[in-house]
Amino acid sequence: MNLLRFAFDNLTRRPARTTLTLSAIALGIAAIVALTAIAWGFEASWQKANDARGTDLIVTKLASENTMPSPFVAEKVRPDLLKLPHVQEVVGLLSEMLTVSYDAPPMFVFGWQFDSYLWDHLQLIDGRWPQSPDDAVIVIGTLAAELLQKKTGDTIEIEGVALPVAGIFQSSALVENGALILPLLQVQQLTDKPGKVNVLNLQLDASATTTDVAHIKAQVRATLPGFVAITSGELVSQNAVVRISKAMSNATILIASLVGALVVFNTMLMSISERTREIGVLLALGWHPRTVIKLIISESAMLTLAGGIIGILLGILLTIGLEHIELMRGKIDGLFSPPFLLAVLGLSIILGILGGLYPAIKAARTHPSQALRQE
């Protein structure tokens, strides 16, 4: 006589109710999985882009609450930064999110300082790189090429100016693959922000230690009021979009968990009240109240675990689906780490235990003779 088998049979005797509860749990878990994978993936993808560029520290305006850090005039701070110990290169970068085609979603347009290390990690697939800071051409990532249906030699209109596509590149970071890149000077002119950048990327020499990095950060804070030097990880985690998407994923975890636990609670309460007489029989046969608790908790945990497994699969499908819709392409890159998925499974079981706890205790307190009198 196997308690888990008995619990399983008790669930299958009410297939409609079990399926409904299972679906509710699965949907909640799917929402948790999809939103969290997107939020974390978003962060990881930006992080990857910064790491691939070889940037050690980023200098930006202190109060960057927008999706992009606010632009500032690069030459006001660049000379000071170059004087700091271990700083080898200080490179300007201007990022914009612009609509470049009516039938494609808004896209990232990056202006990168010509002749800087930023370009080094990109791999040219077709065409050529810009030849000088004044070369008014665009290179586009493979995903951008696909989304815009452009190839080398075509033109793309940015802020009313038609520019030729000089080449197509590939990057290890999804955000860059979906982006358009021009020499910094060109983006400054197109967007009417002469001399401005929204971040300065610092590359340090190989001898720089973490203490040196901390020292540089402190120096920037002390000598350049209104600016901060932060690592790319810090920049990404402070980014408004990353913060909003993380907050949304946290809120989803909370709400979906609460709803899940309530759904299980309700189902198990219904189930035990239907089975009062049976529970009375179990107690009359000498079942310890603890065993009754184990039975009911096994039922609810089994229900939520199954819902969790289905929900994870559904969540992964949902994320993959979202990654492929036009509006989202190149902007989300779902991150499904095994520890995260295990944590979600753990969460499902915890929901079952929490939701089943009160019904289980209630069942264990059934008064056997009164339960047996029930019709």
Binding site: M1, F6, G286, W287, H288
Partner: protein
């Protein structure tokens, strides 16, 4: 199965069960289900409890089986007061076997699963399935092991319930109208099984019944009225 003579089975005279001035009240004392019951049952006895509806027969059985708690008075199991028992579920599991009028089998479990129910959570019980199979064989149910209750006749269901009551080798069988839902042929078969098992396992049986013919199968008949015992084996108290 040939009914065996019941008288010869009383081997010892120690009371396995006794009670002193037992009462059970409901609705803040307005209903007196039991109103001062003194009883002594000898190990191995087969006792029939009779009396009109509502006289307290089931109440007495429930108190003996610890499904209810007495309002006052005391019950003893082998001289040990019930009030000193620390684990009532263990007492029910190890010493008592219940048989009910409406069988109370679990519909999702097979014959074997139902019989094994009282062994759940019993530490170190490794041969439960073998015991259950043997018991069911003795009751002529060897071909019904994997049937669900809905696939069994009334008589078969009650025999499954009896096997379930016997699985942990209890001391006492408490049967509340075990033949109440059966036709006379099935009833007599079930009674044969009870009488037979009782002798094999030297069980004490307390059986509630309306039917004088059924009561006649017992060694002793206790008749109740208004929560009290009025006659014991024909003797007025």
């Amino acid at each position: 199965m040939k009914p065996l003579s019941p008288i010869c089975s009383v081997t010892t005279s120690t009371p396995v069960l006794s009670s002193r001035n037992l009462t059970l009240h409901f609705d803040q004392g307005r209903t007196k289900a039991l109103n001062g019951v003194d009883i002594e049952i000898i190990e191995g006895e087969f006792v029939a409890v009779t009396g009109p509806s509502g006289c307290g027969k089931s109440s007495l059985l429930n108190l003996i089986g610890t499904l209810d708690q007495a309002s006052s008075g005391e019950l003893f199991f082998r001289q040990q007061p019930y009030s000193s028992m620390t684990d009532l579920s263990e007492f029910r599991r190890e010493q008592v076997g219940f048989v009910f009028q409406s069988f109370h089998l679990i519909p999702t479990l097979t014959t074997l699963g139902n019989v094994l129910l009282p062994t759940v959570g019993r530490a170190g019980d490794h041969n439960a399935t073998a015991r259950a199979t043997a018991l069911l064989q003795q009751m002529g149910l060897e071909s019904r092991l994997d049937h669900f209750p809905s696939q069994l006749s009334g008589g078969e269901r009650q025999r499954v319930a009896i096997a379930r009551a016997l699985i942990n080798d209890p001391t006492i069988i408490l049967a509340d109208e075990p033949t109440g839902s059966l036709d006379s042929e099935n009833a007599s078969h079930v009674l044969d099984v009870i009488a037979n098992m009782r002798l094999r396992k030297s069980l004490t049986v307390v059986m509630v019944t309306h039917d004088p013919n059924v009561a006649a199968r017992a060694d002793r008949e206790i008749c109740m009225r208004d929560g009290k015992i009025v006659t014991d084996n024909g003797v007025n108290l």
